[in-house]
């Protein structure tokens, strides 16, 4: 090897060379959203959690537990309590699927291709979140549709109603980043599912989603007060039913959403970058 080759001039290492502009970035995210959407089309069973879960849960709770919780014959009242609360659950359930989905995706060769292409690595993750938010909105629509069938009434007006949906969606999207991180950090989709269940069960049931918390022992009631799912459920309930404090639970929920996103999103993107 001659000295000339060894000292051959290189392309000047400009910092911005190859940097991806905003428009290109959006185009890449669009192409990847399309990919995720086509995957669902190819594998419709993957939508079962979004489509059936709300139906099953709402029927289960209204008819099995509803009488016991709200008193026999008071199912109507319970629908008004349960359905807004369950909006807090939708994000949680969909977010769980994101974790195992990301994990599974990573075992496939196509990730190697994405990571050798001139695209921002975050775009792969953002596209996933966009599609999952879409799935969450579908699940929420089905939940509310079921609610209306069972007599749910929007008492607080249309704007607060939409506000409740927006709040639940924002919180759900934030949760998804936690699961993206878990999906990247854990070895198998099963491990992701296992850990998710472990965290989900106490958070869901130790909240005001299904039943008022006054009957719970003091320590548990204390827990439900800080549980973001309770706050989201309370906020959605207040917004849809037009009664009860709105501002306090809304702010706490938004605070959680911002904090979770601010911590887990950069961690997830960094993890994705380093993953080999």
């Amino acid at each position: 090897m001659s000295a000339a080759t060894m000292t051959a001039p290189r392309a000047k290492p400009r910092a911005d060379e190859g940097r991806i502009g905003l428009r290109a970035n959006l185009r890449h995210i669009g192409a990847l959203v399309r990919r995720n959407a086509l995957q669902i089309k190819q594998d419709p069973e993957s939508m079962f959690d979004a489509l059936l879960m709300p139906v099953i849960f709402i029927l289960l709770f209204v008819y099995v537990f509803g009488g016991a919780i709200a008193g026999k014959g008071n199912q109507q009242e319970y629908v008004q309590y349960l359905v807004p609360g369950m909006m807090a659950m939708m994000g949680m359930n969909i977010a769980m699927a994101v974790g195992s989905g990301v994990n599974e995706d990573f075992r496939k060769g196509v990730m190697d291709r994405f990571r050798t292409m001139p695209i921002a690595r975050s775009s792969v993750l953002i596209a996933k979140i966009v599609v999952e938010v879409g799935r969450m909105l579908i699940a929420t629509a089905i939940l509310l549709g079921m609610g209306f069938l069972l007599g749910l009434e929007v008492k607080g007006g249309i704007l607060p109603f939409l506000g409740a949906i927006a709040l639940a969606t924002a919180f759900g999207a934030a949760l998804m980043w936690i699961f993206v991180l878990l999906g990247l950090a854990l070895k198998t989709p099963q491990a992701v599912q296992g850990i998710a269940m472990l965290v989900l069960m106490p958070l869901q049931f130790g909240s005001s989603i299904f039943a008022p918390t006054q009957s719970m022992p003091g320590w548990l009631e204390g827990f439900t007060k800080v549980n973001p799912l309770s706050n989201l459920a309370d906020a959605a309930r207040a917004l849809i039913n037009g009664q009860g404090a709105v501002l306090h639970p809304t702010l706490i929920t938004l605070g959680w959403a911002v904090a979770i996103t601010a911590v887990t999103m950069p961690l997830a993107v960094a993890k994705f970058r380093k993953k080999t």
Partner: protein, 342 residues
């Protein structure tokens, strides 16, 4: 039609110096130097676990090397990964396409990710499907493709952006001979179009078909390099196998070849178990001469064939020992990258 690279003064599209990548105690790549000249194919020959895949993953920004330097198309793999990704294409041993998407959707998606307009991405996808004989299967999900079709789709995906430098990591491992020939023809076509290719393989035959230069690696180190012809001469070129009609004639036949004193022919041996004589040859002239001698002496022949040296024979000739794979089958960093680094 292929992008222009920015070659170094020496005309190298790929320059690797002292590249090191360890996974814990496993020295997957342990100080590799290599050059790929602009517009040529370099074959990287080595057994399983030699570090071929790790090398390719370092050069395609999937792994960050521990030490050494590597420039591809003039870009530093560590400091300019984003610019570098615009100039490379990678086809791995395991097809890197989305199995749930159809062939056309896969190619369209990659076109869009490479900033083609919708129209151009569609046009280019159809072009590539046509070129890789996948038009009929265009609408089927890749999961339903045969192994060979998936590999072709993978190659097509790597070619959408007309990369200046293409890495082919064992592109024909596990393919049947017919599909293998198709892949080879496609690679040759890419090179004619001006692409620079770094090809890893376990097969001498593949290296000979596609590469002009060869680097032989074992246990993460380069153990030989040079023109394919040079290396072939070093390892004895081909083996001519002759099967006499009458197996009893075998020893007499080997003796006759030795006595004939043909130029450059020595070391003809009889393989009694197979009933064939093995004669190492380097040129076609030698082949003709050997057969002519046997004809003159009146031997009746049932079959003639020539064989390229196997990877084992190459290693034996270069290092005096068998490939490391046979000695330590579990020492296989190529296969365990994911586990080691997860």
């Amino acid at each position: 039609m292929t992008q222009q690279t920015k070659p170094t003064k020496g005309g190298n599209a790929v320059e690797v110096r002292g590249l090191v990548k360890h996974f814990g105690d496993v020295k997957a790549v342990d100080g590799v130097d290599l050059d790929v000249r602009e517009g040529t194919v370099l074959g990287v020959l080595g057994p399983n676990g030699a570090g071929k895949t790790t090398l390719v993953r370092c050069l395609s920004t999937l792994l960050v090397p521990d030490a050494g330097s590597a420039f591809v198309a003039g870009y530093d793999v560590v400091r300019q990964p984003r610019a570098l990704r615009r100039t490379i294409g990678l086809t791995g041993q395991y097809a890197s396409v989305d199995e749930k998407l159809s062939g056309r959707e896969n190619l369209y998606m990659i076109g869009r990710l490479l900033d083609l307009s919708r129209k151009d991405a569609r046009r280019r996808a159809d072009e590539m499907l046509e070129r890789f004989s996948l038009t009929e299967a265009a609408k089927r999900p890749a999961a339903k493709y045969s192994g060979g079709m998936r590999r072709r789709l993978d190659l097509a995906a790597s070619m959408i952006g007309q990369p200046a430098v293409l890495y082919l990591d064992e592109p024909t491992t596990g393919l049947d001979p017919r599909t293998r020939n198709e892949v080879w023809a496609e690679v040759q076509r890419m090179v004619r179009d001006g692409a620079t290719v770094l090809l890893t393989t376990q097969y001498m035959e593949e290296a000979e078909q596609l590469a002009s230069e060869l680097t032989v690696i074992d246990r993460g180190r380069v153990i030989a390099e040079g023109q394919v012809d040079e290396l072939k001469a070093k390892v004895g070129g081909r083996t001519l196998q002759i099967r006499p009609t009458e197996p009893g004639e075998l020893d007499r036949m080997v003796g006759a070849i030795a006595q004939a004193g043909l130029d450059g022919i020595s070391g003809a041996t009889a393989d009694r178990a197979e009933g064939v004589a093995n004669v190492p040859i380097i040129s076609d002239e030698q082949l003709t001469a050997v057969i002519a001698v046997l004809g003159q002496r009146g031997f009746a022949l049932a079959g003639i064939s020539t064989h390229l040296p196997s990877l084992d024979e190459v290693f034996l000739a270069i290092t005096g020992q068998k490939t490391s794979e046979a000695g330590s089958p579990e020492d296989d960093p190529d296969q365990s990258d994911a586990e080691v680094s997860a």
